[in-house]
Amino acid sequence: MGTEGMMARIYSMGVNGTEGYPVQVEVFAVGGIPGTEIIGLPDTSVRESRDRVNAAIINSGIELLPRRITINLAPADLKKEGPSFDLPIAVGVLIATRGLIPAEGFEFGKTVFFGELSLDGKIRAVNGALPMVISAKERGFQTVVLPEENAKEASCIEGLRILPVSTLKEVIHYIDGSEIPVPQRQMTYEELNRENIITVDMCQIRGQKAARRAMEVAAAGGHNMLMIGVPGSGKTMLARCLPGILPPLTFEESLETTRIHSICGRLSPGSGLMITRPFSAPHHSASVASLIGGGQNAKPGEVSLAHNGVLFLDELPEFSRAALEALRQPLEDGIVSVSRIRHQAQYQSSFMLIAAMNPCPCGYYGSTSRACRCTKNEIRKYLDRVSGPLLDRIDLQIEVDAVPVQEINDSLPAESSATVAARVAAARRVQQERYRNEEFYTNAQLNNAAIRKYCRLSADAETLLNAAVEAMHMSMRGYNRVLKVARTIADLDGEDIISSSHAAEAVQYRELDQKYWR
């Protein structure tokens, strides 16, 4: 046994923001006092991998020679976190200590390893597999060895050989050439997309015809929506229906969204790309950081988890003022920038905001069944917690009344989500066609200039809207919002010019702020 050192270099991936970046795991073993040191800005979970790797190697039936081992994670100036470096470290240690002789011509330079090891040598799933695989492809790697549970998530990426492994032994056999694992079958997105899982179906909702219609309009135009109603009127249930009537995620959207969920570890083990639009419903005690993203090592927040999906804020006025104000940037730009001393990250966050609130602190203002016991001042204070600028971003406001018992028992089945979704999809196609040369793709995103360009009114619609502005003391902003919503209603009808009935219906989704916020 000589004293000259032995060096191994294995490629892995880390995640910064929502992007993966290559990490070289360099392992140097040399004679001397036995010990292991990990350098290259590892955090605690990376430093602890030393012990996991040790145990996993021994439990895979390989005896380690006592060596002084130095492990460097390059680039050395980026902070590494998470247990996904366990696998490349183990491979590096095995090679550097000659516990494993790679097969002739094994290309370590074109292979990426990542995975968490358990003490008995099994390989566990890691967070962020999708962004790591995507950037592995972008950097020209050819093979990715990853935990079996992450394989499906990565299966839609073309041009890569994905090798799912479940134990360290399999990896050892793969490298020494004795047995090559079965590569993950390449799956197209359409294949995954067979079933759009609907958790709550619209047909389960009794009554609430006005709110149902408003949901359909909101979904068709991508409009944000606020529901005001007494407790128990079904606001939450309505909101949960929304992902089911939105068009399914496109491949690109799915990649974006799955990537964020992957980083946060929100994907269920063994699941592939997300198909159903995400529904994120943070509790009203949520902090700004949990909502927007951030923390010591920046992580995406709830608004990013809702990217391409629905962010549902129940009890809107109970959210802290700071949290609500922080929503304005993502609502405006569809992206949040999180700046921390050590970290700077941007997360995509273009979502539909569905908010729900009671009409007053006790909840029963305007209820026919129970007396409200709030004073005018209390109600005003409660409503004032939702600031004007935030309200300005919400196109549809709808009142939801409690459903009378006889209507709950009403046997007439309501429309199912699938029926509504078909109409929504048709309206979305109309918009896509109309805005194919623009930077936006839904009616909700129209700016003032685009409103003038695309929201053409028939003569009587114009007369009606002018009368409505007069009668309901509507602001110019409110007027523009009505136009956008009217555009969507006309799209649902498949008509190019907004007729007076479209405009009149759109006005109904505004009169709420007349009643409450005047």
Binding site: R213, G229, G366, A371, I398, V403, A468, S500, A504, E511
Partner: protein
């Protein structure tokens, strides 16, 4: 010490001496300056029928500092005062079993001389319909020369004052605190309106006295005492407005209750009163007739004859109209009755709202608008 009469009134009223001490005291000494002179300056009250406890309290009443503050407050807010011995003092209050000995006021006393006065009260947290009805009825009464008396509270009270001002007659507000207090804060603009339209603010509480909870039920006897008739617009069973009703009944006044929504918990007290025999009315005309205040003059005000809104021509509008004739309805109920589809109904509702034929109530409910908007 030389102060105006009213400052001595404020000093005496500031002691919050019960009326059964205060009134004999005033009768005996003539005015509060004399009381001050006897008890504070000369410290030699006459041996008389004033109970010892009362004498003790009076001699203990601190004088100089508070009187100066009172003087500035009264000057700043234009507050004057009168005692039960003054000629201006409203005769109807004199007849009460527990009249206020001293009254503070700002504004025009002449509205106390008007014959037609109606007191209107109701809950602070009233339903939308109740608020609207209060305003309409107060306005129509006011148009026919009736002065409305109420308590300047938020909710029904404020709507009654507003309605009265819209109708052109002055209105009287009886407060439960010193007239200098900003209470209720949100009705400050209303106070100014009342004063600018020859109205009157009244209180038995000296300037500087805070709006304490127990003042209000006691103050209510003045509200009911100032008119021949009390109208309860809308109240729950356990409500401050009911103390006004109790006072009115004790004082032998006519009590009327607005029928309101027959199922709403907000007008529970109205239903109880009506069952117990309170006067029934739906329009200002009913009141004017009952009180014999018609004076052979043509009635003013559109709601006066309770004309039903005209029937619309359009078929969907007619469907909505006919459905709402039976009372206000929620959106889903409307859908069921009219058999329209949601989008159709929504746009019809907007059109009718713009035409001012219906109005939207909280909770996605709709009602026919009575053709009374003036």
């Amino acid at each position: 010490m030389d102060y105006a009469h009213s400052v001595f009134d404020a000093w005496l009223a500031g002691g919050e001496i019960p009326y059964d001490w205060l009134i004999p005291l005033l009768h005996q000494y003539g005015d509060s300056r004399e009381v001050f002179d006897r008890f504070v300056i000369r410290k030699a009250p006459m041996e008389d029928m004033i109970p010892a406890k009362c004498r003790k309290k009076l001699t203990e009443l601190s004088a100089d500092g508070p009187m100066q503050t009172c003087e500035t407050l009264m000057e700043k807010h234009g507050i004057s005062s009168m005692t039960i011995l003054d000629e201006d003092y409203p005769a109807c209050l004199r007849e009460l079993s527990d009249p206020p000995g001293i009254l503070f006021y700002t504004g025009d006393l002449s509205c106390l001389l008007r014959r037609k006065r109606v007191s209107m009260v109701g809950s602070r947290t009233a339903s939308y319909l109740g608020l609207r009805a209060a305003r309409t009825i107060a306005r129509d009464l006011s148009k026919n020369g009736v002065v409305i008396v109420s308590g300047l509270a938020c909710g029904i009270d404020a709507e009654c004052h507003r309605g009265c001002l819209e109708g052109g007659s002055p209105t009287i507000a009886v407060l439960g605190c010193g007239l200098d207090q900003d209470y209720p804060q949100e009705n400050e603009p209303l106070k100014k309106d009342i004063l600018s339209r020859n109205g009157l603010l009244l209180s038995e509480y000296a300037p500087g006295i805070k709006p304490l909870g127990h003042h209000f039920p006691y103050r209510n006897r003045i509200i009911s005492g100032l008119s021949e008739i009390l109208i309860l617009m809308e109240a729950k069973l356990r409500s401050g407005s009911m103390t006004t009703v109790t006072h009115a009944l004790k004082q032998g006044k006519e009590v009327y209750a607005y029928p309101g929504d027959p199922v709403s918990p907000m007008s529970e007290a109205n239903r109880t009163l009506l069952r117990e025999g309170a006067g029934y009315f739906t329009t200002a005309k009913d009141i004017l007739e009952d009180m014999n205040w018609l004076d052979n003059q043509p009635l003013v005000g559109q709601n006066i004859g309770c004309s039903a809104p005209e029937e619309p021509a359009d078929s969907t509008e007619a469907a909505v109209y006919n459905a709402l004739l039976k009372g206000n309805l929620g959106f889903d109920e409307l859908l069921q009755t009219t058999k329209l589809i949601p989008s159709e109904l929504l746009s019809t509702l907007t059109v009718m709202q713009i035409k001012n034929k219906i109005e939207a109530l909280p909770g996605k409910r709709y009602a026919l608008r009575q053709s009374s908007s003036c």
